[in-house]
């Protein structure tokens, strides 16, 4: 019996987690040596944060959202608007991004938490388009197609001291701190009682209901949380770009996050989406350097993967690991 107990006890820190953090922590020191650039590293972290937040809905709750760009974009706008209208303080602006996206998530969640499958997906597309349309048309607030410009990379205020995040390197470590916190928090969440119930609902909504779980509430909570964290990533993105534009809210960009997450193997792995983000951004820059039609090639890769390896890069990695050394027992990774 203690065996069973141990098998279900999840460690706070896992090798994969520490390895991911370590690679990301050292990234600025070697990213230029391999022919890439600092800003790409910042982008990887922000999209990785976004992808983990998105995968809470897609991978862990099994809710296919094709409108998540809306929350990312709302976070970006909220960050900029808070900076201009409330206070030019990093904490205030990040809180605004988190809250605004969370509230948008709650609004959408009210309408879609009882939906499943294709109906859920269609509703998320519709809501995503509504928010994108508002962002384009509400010129007085969002600057329309011109976007919200002159957003400042605010320093980290710590009371006694302030750490500037102006250059890409310091911004990188600022974003890394957020990524570490978000990934640790989500890791705990997924293995918490709430997380396991969400996983149960994903597998069998009806049975979950008949063992006493309020399925609607659980889905609603997941949607709000995922939206809020996507908004947080959006706020960081506004800071990195020093601007906010409606394009990240388009159906296009909402599709990218789905692609990144699926390519990485978000359906089977917690860390898969991070690998997917790296693959996507590398393809954009490396194939994009050769041809403007890089998406054609990445799209074909996506199709092949979905057809032959629906569990994505994480699935391929697991397959390789198993081929090299058969694991004695499945772990909690």
């Amino acid at each position: 019996m203690p065996d069973t107990a141990r098998a279900h006890l999840v460690r706070t820190f896992t090798p994969t987690m520490l390895l991911t953090w370590a690679v990301l922590a050292t990234l600025p020191f070697w990213v230029e040596r391999v022919g890439l650039y600092q800003y790409l590293a910042v982008e990887v972290l922000i999209w990785a944060t976004y992808a983990l937040a998105f995968n809470l809905v897609l991978g862990h709750a099994g809710l296919p959202s094709f409108g998540h760009g809306a929350f990312f974009g709302i976070g970006a706008y909220a960050f900029g608007l808070a900076q201009f209208n409330i206070a030019a303080n990093l904490w205030v602006c990040l809180a605004a991004a988190l809250l605004a996206a969370g509230m948008a998530g709650a609004l959408v969640g009210l309408f879609i938490s009882h939906r499943r499958g294709i109906y859920f997906a269609l509703m998320t597309i519709a809501f995503g388009q509504v928010f994108w349309f508002i962002a384009v048309k509400a010129h007085a607030i969002t600057g329309g197609e011109d976007g919200l410009l002159r957003i400042v990379r605010l320093p980290v205020e710590l009371g006694v001291a302030a750490i500037p995040l102006e250059d890409n390197l310091s911004l990188y470590y600022g974003v890394l701190a957020v990524f570490v916190l978000v990934s640790l928090g989500l890791w705990r969440l997924v293995h918490s009682p709430f997380g396991r119930v969400v996983k149960a609902i994903k597998q069998n909504e009806q049975r979950a209901r008949f063992i006493g779980y309020d399925v609607w509430k659980a889905k609603f909570a997941v949607i709000v949380l995922s939206a809020a964290l996507s908004g947080l990533a959006g706020g960081l993105f506004a800071m990195a770009q020093r601007s906010a534009f409606p394009d990240v809210m388009s159906l296009h960009f909402s599709g990218y996050i789905v692609m990144m997450t699926l390519v990485g193997g978000g359906l089977v792995s917690f860390w898969g989406p991070v690998a997917g983000v790296v693959a996507f951004l590398l393809a954009r820059d490396l194939i994009g350097a050769v041809t403007t039609g890089w998406m054609l090639w990445f799209g074909m890769l996506f199709v092949v993967l979905v057809m032959f390896r629906p569990d994505g890069l994480a699935g391929i990695a697991a397959g390789l690991r198993a081929a090299i050394a058969p694991p004695p027992r499945a772990g909690g990774g």
Binding site: M1, T4, H8, R196, Q203, I211, G212
Partner: protein
């Protein structure tokens, strides 16, 4: 003594088809009641009304004297009513252990906890293992639910319902798809549970029910057409002649 669970005058129609007509049932605490009838007689629909999946057009469902008519299934479940399903309804990606653990009241109480460890407490593990012990699945606790053989899945189906520590347990055709060996083992299991929890079993296998139930209600065409102890029903030539439930 008032029965633990009572249904009064249930009516339900789908479109212009009447599926339940004036169905009244009572299940006293500590008994095992059977609901019998041929395929398509309305047994499962009746269960679905009793456990909150459908709301009846008319009639009342009472549990411990409390009106639970039309209450959401998760609320009914929390009051202490559990059910198993005729078509298996498990959490296939979970292990056998986790299928049961997620249904425990201890886990349910902590559903709003987003940071603590699920099943981290030894008491939770012990409670899940105790349920698996009762249905004879303890040694398979770590297997994925989807890898279990059919009979074991049937047992797990009941274990998930038992895990919520119900006062009243509804079993919907627990023997569906089982061979005579599996049936005998399942009858053994249900007989052992009978002492601890009030049970209602839907079956169309007459012999299975006759061996277990204290009282049986026979449903046909959406109506209760007979009610009595197994001995009484056996003596009822009309029930016997109709070969109710004789699937063949």
């Amino acid at each position: 003594m008032a029965p633990l669970f009572e249904a009064r005058g249930l009516h339900l129609r789908f479109g212009d088809r009447v599926v339940l007509e004036d169905v009244s049932l009572a299940f006293p605490a500590g008994t095992l009641s059977g609901i019998m009838g041929p395929n398509g007689a309305g047994k499962t629909t009746c269960f679905n009304v009793l456990t909150g999946r459908y709301r009846p057009d008319r009639g009342q469902v009472l549990f411990g004297g409390r009106d639970i008519t039309g209450m959401a299934p998760h609320r009914i479940a929390r009051l202490g009513i559990a059910r198993s399903f005729q078509l298996m309804n498990l959490f296939d990606e979970f292990s056998v252990f986790e299928n049961v653990a997620v249904a425990l009241p201890a886990t349910r109480r902590r559903v709003a906890d987003p940071v603590g460890r699920a099943y981290g407490e030894p008491a939770t593990v012990a409670a899940a293992m105790a349920v698996l012990e009762r249905v004879g699945l303890a040694d398979r606790a770590d297997q994925p639910a989807k890898s279990l053989p059919y009979g074991a899945r049937r047992a797990l189906e009941i274990a998930v319902a038992l895990a919520s520590d119900p006062q009243l347990l509804f079993l919907d055709e627990p023997t569906a798809g089982l061979g005579s060996d599996g049936r005998a083992r399942l009858a053994e299991l249900i007989r052992a549970l009978k002492r601890h929890v009030t049970i209602v079993v839907i079956e169309h296998d007459m012999d299975f029910l006759f061996g277990l139930a204290d009282e049986i209600s026979v449903i046909h065409w959406g109506q209760v057409i007979a009610r009595g102890t197994p001995a009484e029903l056996k003596a009822n030539p009309w029930v016997m002649a109709s070969k109710l439930g004789d699937g063949a």
